[in-house]
């Protein structure tokens, strides 16, 4: 997809001014955090579980080559094939190659952010293959030709009235007078429309939440069961995922699944946890004839050993989005690419470059709520600051801002000068603002006073008053 992260500020303004988006986000805004809080209150050892989860991921990332090779051996032993894709183009080519080898016309897809990341749907369509999204949210935005706005609830930016209109426009074979105003009706209609697609699809593509090295299994969680149908019904199953999803053992995966469900939706466990290991064996009742795993790097190994390595722990639970006051204010589309919110603010510059996505790590008040809810304790604000440091070193900030900051820092290292200037400013602004106590406009602070008043200083600086007191005492 075409990234629009470089116009974040404008995207954000548009999001803030969109009343439908506001209503949709306000509804979801309270729901996710409340459900997570309830789930965690029921699990007193949640914080210990977080430490365990972090340790599992850190250990695996520290030995990523070992576990990936073990995983590949186990997949191969189970009769599957692993395709290594260093970048998005290689990943697209691998998927297309498999689809072509079986003459695929349609593919069903479970939700996969990595597929979004490599723009798989566009590529398949351009090559004459029809991808059908089977996750309800993904299906809705596919019909609307929109990117996802959230990593686990891709259509969270929509109200159900919009979904109804979309379905009425798309499902023209159905009775136009049918009732469709309630969410269960929408759900039922999507199921009915999708069911034959599952049966006719030539290839099923799913993502993976975890890859288990000891068994060669991939694990996917859904709440709709669409993952099961996508991967068991077609003749070919392709798992498309990224290299940091690997964990050593099934037990490790179980620990992380407990963290993931609670952090994501406040569930104890997702409704469906589906594991797949290789193709159908002789005697199996179902399963695909071919089993492929496309393992995407796409910039991840470049994070190893650097200041962004911690980001590779990410479980894609979306807790950081749901608790972010910036994300819930502007919506996911403002971030302009696949990954929004705090995790996107860290990951996006790494994947598509600081020039395109430089705004994202800056658009944070550093309130730290993301880090406080992250199930694997990723220090998101710290890493956003690292991006700012890189930008500063590369002189990416506007010159006026850089010089202003430099001048301020120079003065701040000269206490006598600093105190004199602050006292002068306090006196001047104090006198000017005394009558009203605040400024409605202020030179050099236009962006502040555009949206709120600037309280007036009391009129003297603390240090000046303190020095006078000292003299009086003596």
């Amino acid at each position: 997809m075409e990234a629009t992260s470089h116009t974040f500020a404008g995207n954000a303004r548009a999001g803030l001014a969109n009343p439908v988006l506001r209503r949709a986000l306000d509804m979801a805004g309270a729901g996710f955090p409340a459900r997570r809080a309830e789930a965690i209150a029921r699990l007193p050892e949640f914080d210990a579980l977080r430490d365990e989860g972090k340790a599992i991921k850190d250990h695996t990332i520290g030995h990523l080559d070992f576990y990936l090779e073990l995983y590949e051996r186990q997949v191969t032993a189970a009769g599957g094939v692993v395709h290594w894709a260093p970048d998005a183009a290689a990943a697209r080519a691998a998927v297309l190659g498999i689809c072509r080898s079986v003459g695929a016309k349609t593919v069903t897809k479970g939700k996969s952010m990595v597929a979004e990341e490599i723009a798989l749907n566009e590529h398949l369509e351009a090559n004459g293959i029809t991808p059908v999204e089977t996750d309800l949210g993904e299906y809705i935005i596919q019909l609307r030709h929109e990117p996802p706005s959230h990593i686990i609830a891709p259509a969270i930016h929509l109200m159900k009235e919009q979904v109804e209109a979309t379905f009425r426009a798309a499902h023209t074979a159905l009775d136009p007078a049918r009732p469709l105003a309630e969410a269960p009706l929408l759900c039922g209609e999507a199921r009915a429309v999708l069911r034959p697609q599952f049966l006719t699809a030539d290839v099923g593509i799913t993502g993976a939440n975890f890859l288990v090295a000891e068994t060669g299994s991939s694990i996917i969680v859904t709440n709709e069961g669409n993952g099961d149908l996508t991967q068991t019904l077609p003749k070919v199953h392709i798992v498309i995922t990224s290299i940091e999803k690997v964990v050593p053992t099934l037990e490790d995966a179980a620990t992380l699944l407990r963290l993931l469900a609670r952090s994501a939706t406040g569930q104890e466990f997702s409704s469906y946890t589906t594991m797949s290991t290789g193709p159908r064996r002789p005697g199996d009742l179902d399963g695909p004839e071919q089993y492929h795993v496309v393992l995407v790097d796409n910039g991840r190994t470049a994070l190893l050993g650097g200041e962004f390595q911690d980001m590779l722990r990410c479980l894609r639970c979306a807790a950081c989005l749901n608790h972010c006051p910036v994300y819930t204010a502007v919506g996911g589309h403002a971030y302009g690419w696949v990954y929004p919110g705090p995790m996107g603010a860290v990951l996006t510059p790494a994947l598509i470059g600081l020039d395109e996505a430089g705004d994202l790590p800056n658009a944070s008040s550093f309130c730290g709520r993301c880090e406080s809810v992250c199930p694997v304790r990723i220090p998101l604000p710290k890493m956003m600051r690292h991006w700012r440091e890189r930008q500063f070193a590369l002189r990416k900030a506007p010159a006026a801002y850089r010089y202003g900051l430099g001048l301020w820092a120079w003065v701040a290292q000269r206490p006598a000068l600093y105190h004199a200037l602050v006292e002068a400013k306090a006196r001047l602004l104090g006198r000017l603002g005394r009558r009203r106590g605040r400024f409605r406009t202020m030179p050099l602070a236009g962006e502040w006073t555009r949206v709120r008043d600037m309280p007036a200083p009391e009129g003297r600086s603390f240090h000046a008053l303190w020095a006078e007191r000292g003299r009086a005492r003596r």
Binding site: A9, A12, R13, L16, P325, V326, A329, V330, N362, A363, S364, S365, F366, C367, G368, R369, E371, K382, R385, W387, R388, E389, R390, Q391, F392, A397, L405, G406, W408, A409, V411, A412, Q413, P415, H419, V422, K425, A426, R434, R436, G437, R438, R440, A445, E447, W448, R450, V451, R452, D453, M454, P455, P457, E458, S461, F462, H463, L465, W466, A467
Partner: protein, 256 residues
């Protein structure tokens, strides 16, 4: 023989210095009541957070080095701000991770540095204050104090002892007000949306005054309250605890 008084250096913070010296004097009064002798190192300016959060690590370090030197030798360093205390306590050691010698001094300073209210309750074991403030107030938890320094119960504990004061819990008290330093100016529209939500929550409570422990948040909240025509006042919690509210009008209000 009485033990010698505890020597506390006040980290004034640049915002208190410029905007609201009353908060500094309230802090001194509270510290003295808690048996401390307070000094104000003249060599201090700012903790360097604006540079640090702008990615200007070199300037942040240069300023931090001066802070470390200015506050050497005191028993404790106390700031009427969770944000500035957090900068010294949490971020200075991080900042010098690649300079072991300075890092050691930063760690040493970090162990002596506290936010005002948590210093009073945790180090000086203050359980109540002699203050009066009539009416319903609410309290906004500033992000750095809350999440970096675990300041949550401490101010509520002391506010409970203020005569006449009735604390109403603010829904969403832990959600950022949108200040965030330069964020408030660089992304004014997003910051404004966060402030609007905060102010709406405050308005709904029907309290007369909103309190917080950080002047940055208070400038944002007071500025938004007054821009939206609200009658709710904003004050630093230290002014109430030190019984000094009568000495100065609320933040952003005209002098009588």
């Amino acid at each position: 023989m009485p033990s010698p008084p505890v020597r506390v250096a006040l980290l004034v913070t640049c915002l208190v210095d410029l905007f609201r010296p009353s908060v500094g004097f309230a802090a001194i009064k509270l510290l003295e009541q808690a048996g401390c002798s307070v000094e104000v190192p003249r060599a201090q300016t700012c903790c360097g957070q604006p540079a640090y959060n702008s990615g200007d690590r070199l300037d942040a370090k240069a300023i931090a080095r001066r802070v470390i030197a200015a506050f050497a030798g005191y028993d404790y360093v106390v700031a009427p701000s969770g944000s500035c205390a957090g900068m010294v306590k949490v971020h200075y050691p991080e900042l010098f991770a690649d300079e072991p010698e300075t890092a050691a001094r930063a760690h040493e300073l970090a162990t002596r540095t506290y936010e005002l209210v948590s210093f009073l309750t945790e180090v000086r074991q203050v359980r109540e204050v002699a203050a009066r403030f009539d009416g319903a107030v609410t309290y906004h938890d500033s992000c750095s104090g809350l999440r970096e320094l675990a300041i949550k119960a401490q101010p509520r504990q002391l506010l409970a002892s203020v005569a006449g004061l009735n604390l109403r819990e603010l829904p969403g008290a832990e959600i950022c007000c949108g200040f965030g330093g330069t964020f408030a100016v660089k992304y004014a529209d997003i910051s404004d949306k966060m402030a609007r939500d905060k102010v709406a929550d405050i308005e709904r409570l029907g309290a007369r005054c909103v309190l917080a422990g950080d002047l940055g948040c208070l400038l944002q909240i007071a500025g938004k309250l007054s821009r939206s025509g609200s009658a709710v006042e904003a004050r630093h919690v230290a002014e109430i605890l030190a019984d000094m509210a009568a000495d100065t009008p609320p933040i952003g209000a005209p002098s009588a």
